[in-house]
């Protein structure tokens, strides 16, 4: 922009973005600013922003990553290639000349290495129409540099994991507040989330997923007593409110004789499974020490019945049930 280039922003929504959802769910996060950081950054910079829903297309990236996963279920290399490719499609459709990313060579272990960054440019189809201004001097001149659309001498040579150069640059431009100076904006890099995702796939015998699946992996305590069903137990009021919206799609349990969390039952439980689920639900209620707890068992169609169960003792619940 400083060089007179007209810039617009693109933000891809995969369904796994951390900041978008979590602030709206958990009560403990309510104090955090309720803003979409991509929108906020665009407004701060004074540029237009286009948010693109790639939930469906992203499934193939996650399920079949050509370059594999990172430490968890994060397919960073393939993800970056996919997003640059989608950006390429967008610029071609909207008559833009090149793509800019904020990548820095050596910043991330998979997708921002000296050897992988050219691969991403090539495999995405963007080739030399991909400009990385923060570290451009570490690479051969790109098309916008060769054509003098941008001045190479004014581009930068950042490298390595430190964010200090970016922070100094932000300060130079007068930005006191900025979003996400480091990684961690994707649930797929989270170990606990990844375990839940793998558990879901293992239980179903395939890697298919729907938006509701990946949303519900973000909330509650997940307990799987058997392959055919698991319980999602709300941990606090914000999660209860969020999970209420799923009661018309799942069997749900709620203690009536004692205070207790909302529980959703995912899968294909039989009658005995539901009794077991009710005992587990009772264990997480205020009546966990009681001889008997009354629970409302509701079907997705709204039919419900009251059942009485003995709360499950902690010693009866194997550690392996906790996902």
């Amino acid at each position: 922009m400083e060089q007179g280039v007209h810039v617009e922003g693109i933000n891809f929504y995969t369904g796994f973005c951390v900041e978008g959802h979590t602030h709206a769910i958990r009560k403990k996060d309510k104090a955090k600013p309720k803003r979409n950081n991509a929108l906020w950054v665009a407004e701060t910079l004074g540029i237009k922003l286009h948010i693109i829903d790639v939930i469906e297309e992203y499934k193939d990236v996650l399920i079949n990553p050509k370059h594999g996963y990172g430490a968890n279920m994060n397919p960073c290399h393939d993800c970056k290639t996919f997003m640059v490719h989608k950006a390429l499609e967008w610029i071609e459709k909207n008559d833009f000349d090149f793509i800019i990313t904020g990548e820095v060579v050596g910043q991330r272990p998979m997708s921002q290495r000296k050897d992988t960054m050219p691969v991403i440019a090539r495999e995405s189809g963007a080739g030399d129409r991909l400009l990385r201004p923060l570290c451009a001097k570490h690479f051969e001149p790109s098309l916008p540099e060769r054509e003098n659309w941008v001045k190479r001498e004014e581009l930068l040579d950042f490298h390595g994991r430190s964010r200090k150069p970016q922070m100094a640059l932000a300060k130079q431009y007068g930005f006191e507040d900025y979003a996400q100076p480091a990684g961690g904006c994707c649930f797929l890099t989270d170990e606990n989330y990844s375990k839940k995702l793998v558990d879901l796939w293992d239980a179903r015998g395939n890697k298919e997923y729907e938006m509701d699946d990946i949303m519900l992996l973000k909330v509650g305590r997940h307990i799987r007593p058997a392959n055919n069903f698991k319980l999602i137990i709300a941990r606090e009021e914000g999660e209860v409110n969020f999970m209420q919206g799923y009661r018309n799609r799942f069997i749900s349990l709620k203690t009536t004789s004692h205070a207790g969390p909302l529980v959703l039952v995912d899968g294909q439980p039989d009658e005995e499974d539901l009794k077991l689920a009710a005992r587990i639900a009772a264990r997480f209620s205020q009546g966990k020490q009681a001889d008997e707890v009354e629970i409302e068992l509701s079907q997705a169609n709204g039919d419900s019945e009251l059942i009485k169960v003995k709360p499950m003792a902690v010693s009866e619940m194997p550690e392996s049930w906790y996902v």
Partner: protein, 75 residues
């Protein structure tokens, strides 16, 4: 000029913004769109989206769990 409604209840950020963005693309200059959603973050986000893209926010309010943003499409 016509008035339209968009139900984005139950959707979490940024889906209400994406739904708004996609709906506005189909509307004409001067049309008014009322977006209803339940994600409290949408109160800021839809407003920010409007400011960035040059549309006018006519009203933005929260009634209990319901967030309502009324905007005028400006081309």
């Amino acid at each position: 000029m016509a008035e339209y409604k968009l139900d984005a209840c139950g959707l979490l950020c940024p889906m209400p913004v994406i739904k708004t963005q996609d709906r506005v693309e189909e509307l004409n200059n001067g049309d008014v769109l009322e977006v209803q959603c339940t994600d409290p973050g949408a109160l800021n986000d839809v407003g920010a989206w409007c400011r960035i893209n040059g549309h006018k926010v006519l009203e933005a309010k929260q009634q209990d769990e319901l967030v309502i943003i009324k905007l005028e499409v400006l081309r």
